[in-house]
């Protein structure tokens, strides 16, 4: 029977806790860099949060049946005459496809801002003419974009606090604080990457952040679970050594799960349509940074916060449970 390839060097114990200073330093640098980028440049909000309109367009197939090719500069000259302010035109993977973004329009005369967005969209549709298919439009007015932004912020907050309370309930407050620090680290750095690359940040990216929050905490919890278990087993072992051992024991699992999840998300990124690419990208990056933080960052945090060493009361009841199992 094929038992699989256990490729992990289990005999080797990586001295992660010994050099934790450098990992944490790297993380802190990334974190501060992200915060700086976010506060100076800011996120490139998509129209979900900023308002405005978006058109995914495709050149119609040529008479021979070959796929059309979209002429970006012609498109630009067609649209720039409309007086709609900043117009971004982005090429997509296919030469026939492009993405047009129109910023939120200021109302003219006595029309409402909502109406101004609609009028701008109508103008773009007319200007594009018959040679170009509009495959997707999104027009979001200021009222909805404001609400979506608020809902996005609330969602991330609720998720973070929900997770905080769960870990507090299941572990001890020290674990909860360390896990949340690691989570904030992951989310901030992922946002920082979006900021540096100037990627659109919209609703699906918020969904990715929340999923990522779940995933990253999941990873951290597995390590913390092991730390707690070892705290009960080795009552006299130095905390630093105990944590290092826990991280090493769980590292093969952390790596395998990251690989399978990356395979899944990577295939979404490669084969998915434009609509879902931002989501997949946020997830890919988030998984990498989440894996990093649960191995190299979360435990040092926990080390500094300190943990309760006397788990005897709990250990006893835990033992009872194990004994009671058939």
């Amino acid at each position: 029977m094929f038992k699989g390839v256990d490729f992990w060097p289990h005999n080797r114990v990586f001295p992660i806790m010994d050099v934790r200073r450098y990992f944490v330093l790297a993380s802190v640098a990334l974190f501060l860099g992200s915060v700086a980028m976010l506060s100076t440049q800011g996120l490139n909000f998509g129209i979900d949060f900023k308002g405005g309109s978006l058109f995914e367009v495709q050149a119609k197939a040529q008479s021979g049946g070959a796929a059309g090719v979209i002429d970006i500069s012609e498109l630009r000259s067609k649209l720039s005459g409309l007086g709609l302010g900043d117009i971004q035109i982005q090429e997509l993977d296919q030469p026939s496809d492009a993405l047009i973004r129109i910023e939120q329009q200021a109302p003219q005369g006595d029309e409402s801002t909502e109406r101004a967005q609609q009028n701008a969209a109508t103008k773009v549709r007319e200007a594009l003419g018959g040679e170009i298919n509009i495959r997707r439009t999104e027009v979001v007015g200021p009222a909805v974009s404001g609400e979506l932004k608020w809902a996005g912020i609330t969602a991330v907050m609720f998720a973070v606090f929900g997770i905080l309370f769960y870990i507090w309930f299941r572990f001890e407050w020290q674990f909860a604080i360390a896990a949340i620090l690691a989570l904030v680290h992951d989310i901030t750095i992922t946002l920082g990457v979006f900021c540096v690359l100037g990627l659109d940040f919209g609703l699906s990216e918020v969904a990715a952040l929340l999923t990522l929050a779940g995933y990253s905490i999941n990873d951290t919890v597995v390590v913390f679970d092991r730390i707690r278990e070892n705290l009960r087993r080795y009552k006299k072992m130095a905390l630093e050594k105990l944590m290092n051992q826990s991280i090493n024991e769980t590292m093969s699992r952390t790596v395998v799960t990251s690989v399978t999840t990356l395979i899944a998300v990577g295939s979404i990124y490669v084969f998915g349509t434009e609509v879902i690419k931002g989501f997949a990208f946020a997830m890919i990056f988030g998984i990498l940074i989440g894996t990093w933080s649960s191995i190299f960052v979360a435990s040092p945090f926990l080390m500094w916060i300190g943990v309760k060493r006397d788990w005897s009361g709990l250990a006893k009841s835990e033992k009872d449970i194990v004994m009671a199992r058939p």
Binding site: K3, G4, V5, D6, F7, H10, E114, Q118, N119, N133, I134, R135, R136, T137, E138, V139, V140, G141, A143, V144, A151, A155, F158, A159, G162, I163, Y166, I167, L203, S204, A207, T211, A213, G214, I217, N218, V221, V222, D225, E249, S252, T257, T260, T261, L262, I263, A264, V265, G266, S267, I268, V270, F271, G272, T273, V275, I276, F279, R325, P326
Partner: protein, 563 residues
């Protein structure tokens, strides 16, 4: 940990079987489902979201400010009318903020005045909302003023009624397109979500929804025609509107209207019993019936006018193209026409009446529809618009399918590489997992969106985590010198708490997304959360059952190392 009772095995088998049966209709054709698939089995298919099927999504907002202003305006009229009817003299009828105020000349009549004004208020329909009460508050104000003010519950009820009316109007207008199945639902207090699958011409939809047609009933000036008024002077509080049939003919009408179209509860085309000519019969609500009864009894033999205000419409050139202003914007004008100016033959007392006016059967039909559906209670503003063309939807489905295949095979290959034969168990568990998710989603009638597909693919990657935790633990136990059987046992029991903890944290994120998200994001939250339940089920029952069956099949007492 490895022992399974017979009932437990049957339970696991039944759940898996149910998943397969519930998920299967998605892979069958419509015809097979109808003819061959047994009727007692679940037969629901996953419905595709707008982002996969293509279609239009419009979120429209009602103008509650306009509703409020209209209401206050009509309240002022009501106050005036009540006091005149009761022969109570008043002065200083006006409006301060959201309160209509009036001062009586003779302060001794205050009580009588209040009693009269209380006739205006209507009991609230839904007492659950704001307790028992009225839509307006009639009270004694400061400085000897009497005040009539809408209550907040009354305002809510008004918005709510207006939105039900607007939904009906929009539905009728979109139904006129034929062959579409729109979903039109209220969202929040003052918004309406219009979704039309398979139809992505939003300009057409917006045109339909944007028609702010408003119907009003006016009295017509007795002895001055519009043409005469144009030559000399338009009398105070009169306006001129053209006739719908003959744009050159105009009517001189009194403002404000007698009754508004919102007060019509029904309008049907029919035939006059005596003359057999096409007519439209209509019915007012109670309040309008009272007003119209009084008006019509005083005005027998005189005409009144039914006016349709279409709001701002595009101006067409003579060749049918849309006219433009010099600055390139679409030229618009206010379009108000007199649909009909019938003569009142007899007092209309019962609140229902008929409009006759030399129209053909088709005209009567059209007018009845316009009267019924023509009047949106308020201006609607489109605050969000999303459309996906059918070709993009199909591309998304295709991309999703490809990503699922590649992702699935990638994960499968990796699991087989890392865990060999036991990796196969993990794959079976993931397949059961997916079948359960799809089956449950079909059964509860949830919609599959593009983020939902992403959630499914993500679940493939994350669901194997439970198996990874168990298998790594088994290997660890064996490295620590345990015998295979006790290593397996220990692996399952020790991994249990970890799996629960790690999945519950993801579930928290899923629940938050479902709660605060909308549309496609909700679809993602549903697949993610279902995936978590399915993962826990498959890891603890399916994988464990498979492993225990494998252990039972080993001939030797000492089983070989599995991992």
């Amino acid at each position: 940990m490895l022992h399974f009772s017979r009932t437990k095995i049957i339970f696991v088998a039944l759940v898996c079987l149910w998943g397969v049966v519930a998920a299967l209709p998605n892979f069958l054709s419509e015809a097979t489902l109808k003819d061959i698939w047994p009727g007692f089995l679940p037969n629901k298919q996953l419905s595709l979201g707008l982002d996969l099927k293509g279609g239009a999504h419009l979120l429209v907002q009602m103008d509650s400010e306009e509703l409020r202003k209209d209401w206050l305006k009509s309240l002022r009229g009501d106050v005036r009318k009540q006091l005149i009817d009761a022969k109570i003299r008043y002065k200083g009828l006006g409006q301060v903020g959201d309160v209509v105020r009036v001062k009586l000349v003779n302060e001794a009549k205050t009580e009588e005045g209040l009693t009269r004004l209380r006739l205006i208020r209507q009991p609230l329909g839904n007492t659950l909302v704001g307790g028992s009460g009225y839509d307006v508050d009639v009270r004694r104000g400061s400085d000897g003023f009497l005040e009539v003010a809408p209550t907040s519950a009354g305002m809510q009820q008004r918005i709510s009624n207006a939105s039900s009316a607007a939904i009906e109007v929009i539905r009728r207008r979109i139904d006129a397109l034929g062959n579409v199945e729109p979903s039109i639902v209220r969202q929040g207090l003052d918004r309406i979500l219009v979704q039309v699958p398979g139809f992505d011409d939003t300009e057409k939809l917006k045109e339909l929804i944007g028609q702010t047609a408003r119907l009003t009933f006016h009295s017509v000036h007795d002895n001055v025609t519009a043409a005469e008024a144009r030559e000399s002077l338009i009398p105070l509080s009169y306006v001129i509107h053209p006739d719908a049939e003959d744009p050159n003919y105009e009517h001189l009408l009194k403002e404000p209207p007698i009754v508004y179209g919102e007060d019509l509860v029904d309008a049907q085309p029919g035939f006059d019993q005596d003359t057999n000519e096409p007519i439209i019969s209509f019915r007012f609500n109670q309040k309008a019936a009272r007003i119209f009864a009084e008006f019509s009894s005083k005005n027998v033999g005189r005409p009144f006018a039914i006016v349709l205000d279409n709001g701002d419409v595009e101006v067409k050139n003579s060749d049918g193209t849309v006219a433009k202003n010099p600055d390139g914007t679409v030229k618009k004008k206010r379009d108000v026409v007199v649909l009909s100016a019938p003569v009142i033959r007899e007092p209309i007392l019962g609140g229902s009446g008929q409009i006759s006016g030399n129209f053909s059967v088709e005209e009567a039909n059209k007018l009845a529809v316009q009267v019924r559906s023509g009047a949106l209670p308020t201006t609607l503003t489109i605050v969000e618009e999303r459309t996906v063309g059918p070709s993009l939807g199909a591309d998304s489905v295709e991309g999703g399918r490809l990503a699922a295949m590649v992702g699935g095979f990638g994960v499968a290959a990796f699991m087989l590489f890392a865990y060999g034969f036991f990796g196969l168990f993990a794959l079976l568990a993931v397949i059961v997992n997916l079948v359960l998710i799809v089956g449950t989603m079909s059964a509860i009638g949830s919609t599959l969106t593009l983020p939902g597909i992403a959630g499914l693919i993500l679940t493939i990657g994350m669901a194997v985590d439970a198996n990874v935790l168990i298998y790594e633990r088994i290997r660890e136990e064996m490295r620590n010198g345990k015998q295979p059987i006790s290593a397996i046992d220990g692996g399952f029991s020790r991994a249990f708490a970890t799996i629960i903890d790690s999945n519950l944290t993801t579930l928290i994120a899923g629940i938050v997304m479902f709660w605060l998200g909308s549309g496609p994001i909700r679809g993602f939250a549903v697949t993610l959360s279902l995936g978590i339940f399915a993962t826990v089920f498959t890891a603890f029952l399916v994988t464990r059952l498979l492993v225990s069956l494998w252990v039972a099949r080993q001939k030797t007492r000492k089983i070989p190392a599995p991992l």
